[in-house]
Structure formats: structure tokens, C-alpha cells
Point group: D2
Chain length 305, copies 4
Amino acid sequence: MAIMRMGYAHVRVTDLAEARQHYTQTLGLNEVAADGNKVYFKGWDEWDHHSVVLEEGGVGLVKFGFKAQYEDDLADIEKKAQAFGATTERISKGEELEVGEILRIHTPSNHIFDVYHEMTSGQVDVGNVNPEAFPRDLRGVGAPALDHALITAEDAGLMERFLHECFGYWTAEKVATSLDPADQHTIAVWMTATTQIHQLAVLEGPQSKLHHFAFRLEEGWEVNRAADLFAMDDVPIDVGPTRHGITRGKTVYFFDPAGNRNEVFAGGYLSFPDRPMVTWTPDVLGKAIFYHARELNERFTTVLT
Amino acid sequence: MAIMRMGYAHVRVTDLAEARQHYTQTLGLNEVAADGNKVYFKGWDEWDHHSVVLEEGGVGLVKFGFKAQYEDDLADIEKKAQAFGATTERISKGEELEVGEILRIHTPSNHIFDVYHEMTSGQVDVGNVNPEAFPRDLRGVGAPALDHALITAEDAGLMERFLHECFGYWTAEKVATSLDPADQHTIAVWMTATTQIHQLAVLEGPQSKLHHFAFRLEEGWEVNRAADLFAMDDVPIDVGPTRHGITRGKTVYFFDPAGNRNEVFAGGYLSFPDRPMVTWTPDVLGKAIFYHARELNERFTTVLT
Amino acid sequence: MAIMRMGYAHVRVTDLAEARQHYTQTLGLNEVAADGNKVYFKGWDEWDHHSVVLEEGGVGLVKFGFKAQYEDDLADIEKKAQAFGATTERISKGEELEVGEILRIHTPSNHIFDVYHEMTSGQVDVGNVNPEAFPRDLRGVGAPALDHALITAEDAGLMERFLHECFGYWTAEKVATSLDPADQHTIAVWMTATTQIHQLAVLEGPQSKLHHFAFRLEEGWEVNRAADLFAMDDVPIDVGPTRHGITRGKTVYFFDPAGNRNEVFAGGYLSFPDRPMVTWTPDVLGKAIFYHARELNERFTTVLT
Amino acid sequence: MAIMRMGYAHVRVTDLAEARQHYTQTLGLNEVAADGNKVYFKGWDEWDHHSVVLEEGGVGLVKFGFKAQYEDDLADIEKKAQAFGATTERISKGEELEVGEILRIHTPSNHIFDVYHEMTSGQVDVGNVNPEAFPRDLRGVGAPALDHALITAEDAGLMERFLHECFGYWTAEKVATSLDPADQHTIAVWMTATTQIHQLAVLEGPQSKLHHFAFRLEEGWEVNRAADLFAMDDVPIDVGPTRHGITRGKTVYFFDPAGNRNEVFAGGYLSFPDRPMVTWTPDVLGKAIFYHARELNERFTTVLT
């Protein structure tokens, strides 16, 4: 395992006060640091310093962090990324708050992926000695952790190869124009490096855009309860609660106050490198994405940040 | 990842007809082959030929299969196991039905672990093209897949080192006599090689014994519904439905007609190699195992097969 | 209690074969009788002969049956209905299959309500002696029972008075143009005669129309699972799974093959005659009906049968 | 409907401070009044002044309140109770805090049942105008309301007749020595006056004792989550989470700090006066009470307060 997981999402928000309210009171993240125009958050079940960075000014993705298992992974991924044709930089330890040395990759999709091995330790809220099953008093949705993201790229198939070659990701599920691998155009891919069903998904679309980033919940009732809380807190819901055909996960899509799309996601089967990839054809795309409604709303495909 | 997962459990049962009824009609596995005194089963969400082998005659564990990601992993694990002092054998392709060449390891705990890279493909029941979220008509509990097992060993700490060095497993959770790693005796370990919270657990106890092997379910209501079906089908329940403190999973322990302990298990948080290990102290062992009752029943610690 | 419950729904369907498939295989009702162009069904947890009658030819409501607790209730309700200005008839025992003498009321909303005290006994599938918690092998959604219906009427307030005076129903929840009872126009009412949160709801709209009739499920996961099965069985979903603000129930609206709207409904709080009525104002009508999306789709308000 | 519901439970506790902590912080009731050595509580979804009264000094039941629908019900029930041979008293309005005139009945089981029609209004926490589905910030289990109780009596069959004749209750389920009504001894009865599956149950045992009183939850996951919170708050669990065969409800039994047994209860099917009574035979009593374990623990049958 070179990349263990998507370690953090760094996005812009128009108003930090509103965003703080949303991410801490509705989603239930802990604010762990503030630094100039940036605020840092972690979920109660995360052990690194932060998993979400909000930066005041505008809307949309700044970058994602990906945590590598070994220090040597940075050099290895650097070599592979450069061989793939991507531009890379090195960022010294400490330039990003509480993050060690960074390999910054400008991806073929024109996103910034920061690969790091070191981050200051945080603490799972329940601790590591005789822990309770969850914190006694969660706030709002009580999201335990960042889970995955979906970005858009002009060439989703190119990004699939990039993530496979440089990050060691495999494709759990794919939407393609044909079932014949030799004659198919890739519309979207769901990729991972572990049994977690996806860590990063890429959908054909404009370069450098964010579709959503997602927080993990454990069960379907928690997803439904999250939707109840969004109703109470006037959080705009995009779609859900419903199930995805792809990944089988339970989901609600919603927007933060700046308009960045968030998701709460639960379930999904376990992925393994030897599990045959699932392929979806464009004629059932609606059902693939929203298993119950079996159709996409226009907002889902057009609102990106 | 050297070992991807526990690929199959091979156990003895006193009566194959009764066992077939239990594993297919109550648990909902598919029977995929029969061969002399052995019957082979898979869950609906598994893509290899089988994950459970039942052999008529007696009760208890014959062996576990572990699937390695790469062909070369066998030689590599062989070298490490021998260096650790374990006895190994090679079993030719085909000697185990539908399994490729096997590295058979006689573990320090006196269990047999068969490491293989190749098994004849099965088919996830919903297929790999535009699949439904689950089979329309599941039988009984409808268990999708084998998940993990718990074995006993005279020296649980030794097995922990063995699994770490040879299989690349890390310890997600541990019961130990002290919180000081330098001065602790290991009573039990829960180990994995992926985000799946455990693939194999080892509890201090007699050599070569099986405590239970477990099937995965997705949500708590499915665990509760399984308990309902066990009541209807006269399946003896050992404990549950309840939650484990360790792993946070939801669980029911029950017995197959021969007396082998099974489990249905759902949930549990995601494990990662950099996640700090959780340690439990013996004074809260009851709560660690059964979070609600906070005490062990005698059967739980004494009935092994 | 004069009226105990809505005892049956009698609707038209364009094609009996398709409808049978939907109501027995997808919803899981039992077919209990067929008679000319009519087919009769009951849920597994119902003890009267039938709760659904399908009649071939067209689409839409024929009538509802309401079961009275005592034989004398028919004469009593007859007197009250006539005093209210409604037309009534008496139908002899046996003219409706397995139903005793009927008081037929032509309601102010121009619907037909058949009040009866006697129906041939059916049998709860699990029996009445040492029963299991549910049938071991349910088909599809496995709906246990008919629950309630929503009809439209030109004057919803008039129907509210009619149901209160003749049936002894009280209003659990109401949508009204103002919070002042002395100066409000009633847009919709949810009424009941027991702790069941509603047995009949009336929405301002055209006379004699059916909005939907609903089947009861026990928990939210069953509602979500129903939506999964509708996806598998190509049943068109109107809205859901979601929650209602009104009644707090969990819901999926869907259509039978003829186009009659059905619902699966779970939860809702307990109603009591002394519980203060809940009032909703038109500005939050979307949230009142669909708590998560907080807006009505056009289909929901325009498709009636 | 003469009696609408069990309106309040009044019990003794050894330590008011501990009890307050349990009932408000763990169960999530609201404290609404304190008066000398008594404290009054209500659930968030109740509209009367209180549903639980705790009185310092000892342990066990003081009395239950039952709310009648009409003022005239008191005289009517009084006449019936006296005809049945029970002793009755009248208690003036105001002698019980916030309760109107009371008909106090000394039941054949030597319990005190206070029948009242009037209680000062409380307020459902979410209000009656455009309410949210539940309070945004519940404490602990967040129990919405008192649900039912189980008492013991030397002659359970006598209490069944008493409750039927005086309160209008019917028997939803029964444990009896035989299936022949003409030749059976009644061991226990579950009785109600509405679709709520039971309001009061009576088990053969010592006079004047309390087995438990129960709070309503809506779904199984809430019952399981309650058990998690009991583990965190060191609340002793008697049994559960599990399902009852009787009523089909999901349950956890636990003890308040004084030793009174509480229950959280969810689900259960709807009762109706024409629904055939369910009878259980003593040979399956374990399964009738605890559907999964299929055996009673000794504590369950011997600990009464």
C-alpha cells in the first residue's frame, strides 16, 4: 500500500463563520486549529491532526492530501508521477500546518494532490485504552471521518491510469461506453487501495473541479438521521437519503454554506484487488448513481465547485 | 499487501445433511461443489469458488485458507515462516479442490494455514455488469461473505509476531496485562492487513483450537434479523445480538449443528496501518467482548472446537 | 371506538395479471380469493379475509371499507351520516365477498365508504399460538397490513367534520391557512380513531379521487429495503425513501402497474384524543410533506386516480 | 375508550440525586417540577405535565396514574370497580401536583391505580406548529414517552377481568397453562385499550409488586443505541438488546440507581379489539419473553420492587 487514504480535503468557503457552524455543529467535526484565513477540523474517529481545511475566500477545491504509508513512498511516487508526465514539487515540512514534507503533484486533471507521510498526531475522541464505542455526546451528525471524494476531469481514463500507476489504486467500479475493455470510453471510475470501497472517484467533466467530498457514517439509519438534521439546520439537500447502485452505499448529498457539495456515506461492500471490477453502461447511469429514483437531477451533473 | 484475506474456513461437522441445511437455508450460502465427504460453499457476494469447506466426521477446525495477492508471495511467506521456525509444505495445484498451489504452514499455535494465490473463479450472484444491490431473493440470513475467525493459542503474543512477520498483519486491538508494551503479557490480538477491522484474532488458550469463524453482514438490523431467524430455525445462540467493545462490531454468536461456533458480524471501524492500536486491560474484559452485558458467559470462554 | 380502522381498499387496475404480480410478488400480499374480475388480497399480519380488492378495468378508487367495532355501530353511523346530509344504502350480507351487512355511505367528497362489522376470518400467517415474530419466508417487501389512505375532496374541512361526527375520528394534524381556528381554511387533515397516527387523510382537490393507499412497515430500514426492491422490480417510485414532517413517518410513494399510487409507511408517533393537534402553515408545506427535500414534486400534487 | 393510557408511574428511589441523573441525563427526560421529596419528569413527546414521579425513600412502586378520556369516566369506572369488589377513594384536585380530581382504586392485586381526567398541560418539546421531527439536541437515550408497565399479582386472571371490566382493556396476548379457555390457568396477560400493543401487563407473582415500567422508542436501532449508552453510563442491563416473542417488541431491560427495573421498548404490532388474542404455552415461555436466548435469567423472574 503506497497511499493509505485520502487524508484531507482543503476547500475554499465564502464565509468562515457560517462554514464553522456547518462543519462543527451540523456535521459534528472538531475544530482543531485556526491559522490566518484557514480553519482545521477532524472527525472524532480520526487520529491525525486534521482531515478538513477551510480557507476563506471563494468556493471550491484547493487540494487534497493523500497519506503514504512509508517515508520512501514520496520519492517512489514522485518518480512515477514524473514518468507519467505530471509536474511535481517538494514542499518543506511545516509549510502546511502540522504536515511533514509534501510531494505536491499537479495531476493530469489539473488538481493538486499533496502526498505526505507525516502529520502531527491527533487523538481519536474515545482514546486508545478501553475506549467507548463512540463519544457519549456527539454534536449533530457526528461524522467520524473523512471518507472519499469525487472530482471531474476531461479524461477520466487518463486519471484512472495515473492513479493506478502512481498511487497503486485499483478500479472497483467503472462507467464505460461499452463492456469491451478494448473498445470502451471511460466515463467515470471509483478507485481505492484497500477494502474501503472508494477513496477517490473521477467523473468525466471539466478539469480541476470538485463534485463532492464525503464523510463516512456506519449505518443507513445514521444517513437518514443526518437528513433529518439537515432539515432542522436548513442545510440544502441535493439528493437523498437514497442508495447508490455504484458501491451500494447509502447516501445524502448536501451543500455547505459556500456551495461545496458534501456527502454522508455509509456501507458499501468490501473491495479487494482480486475482486472483478463492476462495469455500468450509460443506459442505466441514473440507477447506477441513484438506485431508487433511477434518474439524475440536473443539479447533480452541473453544479461543481 | 501479501495476504489479502482469510479466503476459506475448512471445518469438520458430524452430519453433512444437517450442516448443509444450516449453512445454505439458515445462513444462506450457496453450495457450489460436493466431493466425497466434503461440501463447498460460497456467499452471494464472493467471487472465488468457495469460502467454506465442510468435512463430515467430528467437529472443529481442519484449516484456514489465506489468499495472497501475488504468486511470488508464496515463496516470500515460505521463507519468512521458515525463518520464524514454522514447518511448511507445498501442496500441488488441484489437491485442494479448485485451489492452485498451496504453501501449507503449521503455525506456532499448531493450526494449519494454507496460503494460495489461485482459486477457480466463482461469480458474485448479482454479476459484474449493472448489478443489483443484492440478490432479489436471499435465503435466510443471506450472508454475503466469510469475514474473519478467532483461534486460540498457548502463546498469543507469539502468534501476533508470526502473523506480523509472515503475513504482514498489524494489530488493530489487543488485550494485555498492562499498558506498557515493554512489560505486558498479550492475552488476545485482533489483526488485519487492510481496512477490514480484523481478519484473524488470536486468544490465549489451548493450541490448535477454533473459537469461531464469522460471516459479514452490513448493518445492525441484519444482525438482529439473523437472531430472529436463528430463533425460528432452532439455531442455538451463544450470545447476542449485542455489540463488541473491541472492533465496535455488532454480533450474534451461534452454533452450527455440529457445535462449531459461528458469528454474524456487522460494522466495526476502518483499520489503517498508522492508526494507533487500541489496548484493553483485563479488568474490563467483559465490556471489551460484550459491550452491553459487560460480562462473559462461561460457555464463551470454554467451548472450543 | 365506532370505526376501528380502514378495513379494505377496493381499486381498479387495467391488467389483473400485472397487478397480481405487483401486489403479491413485490409487496408480498397473499392472494386469498378470485371472483370474476376481482381478486382479493390480505397482508400476512391481518386476521380478516381481505384488505385489498383489485377489479379489472380502468384505474382508481372504487371504495374503501371501514370496520366498525360493534354491530350497532352501523345504525348509529347511518343516523349520523344521514343527519350530516350524506346519502346511505344498506347492502346485504354476502353481496360483497365474505363481508357481512354493509352501510354504504356516499360521502360529501363523493367517495364510497362501506361500513361493516362482519368479515369472514382470515388468519395471521404466524398463527395465534406461540407465533414466530414474522413469517420465515416473506415475499418481496412482505407488507404486513393495509394502513391508511389519502383522498382528495373539494372541501377538506367539510370532510373533517363528517369524519369526526360520523366516524368518531379526530384530527391529529392539519394544514391550514392560518393558526387561528376561527379564521382558517383547512387544506388537509390527517385523522384517526386510535393511537395509529392516521387512518384517513383528506387533501383539498377534486371530488372522489384517490391520492394513495398505504401499507404499514415497522421500521425505517424496511422502507429503504422496499425502495431497493422497487428498483429491482422496475416499480416506479414517486418520492422516497424519505420522512414526512406530518406524522413523522418514513415513506416511499410508488405506483402499481395501473398507475394507482401506493405507499409503504413506517413509524409515526402515537396519537391520542387529548393530544394537541399539530398545525402546519402553507409556507412550509414542502417540508411538512417531504421533510428532507422540503419541496413537493409536481407529480405528487397532480397525479390522482 | 374509557382509559386512554397509563399516564404516569410514581416510584420510590433511594437517592434523588442519582435518580435525577439517570432519568434526565441517561434516559433524557425533562425535569418539570420538584416538590418536597418528589421530582416530576416528562418525555419530550408528552403533552401532559408529567409522566414519571420519583419519591425519595426506599424503592418500588407507589402507584400508577391512568388518564380517562372523559370526566364522566371517573364515576363510571368507580361504579364498576366497586361492583368488582375493589376499594375506591376520591382525591381532590390538587392533592396530586398538577392533577385534577382522582379516583383512587385499590386493585385486587393490591396496587394503587389513580384514574384522572385532568392534568395541567405540558408541551411537546417540538411544539404543535410546524414541528421538527424530534428535538435537535436530545440528551442520552432521548426517551419520548412513558409506554407501559408490568406488575405482578397473585391472581393474574382476576386482574385481567378487573382491567377488562373496569378499564375496558382487552387482552392482546396471554400465557396460559392450556389453549382451552374453559380449562386454562392464566399466568400472564398483556392488555391494552388501543392499537398500542400493551399499556399494562400482569404476571402471576406476589401482590403489589412492580416488575418494570417502560419507555417507548421508535425503532430497533434506538434500542441498541440505548444499550450502548447504558454501557457508557454504567447502567446495569438486566437483559437485551433483544426481541420479545410476546408483542414482537425490541427491548432492553435495565435498572435505575435504586434498583427499579426500567425498559426501553420499540415496535410491536398494532392491537385491535377484533384481533384474535395470541396465546403462549408455558413450555415456550423463554422464547415468548426473550425471543433470541429462548430462556429466562433468574434475575428476570425474581427481582421485583
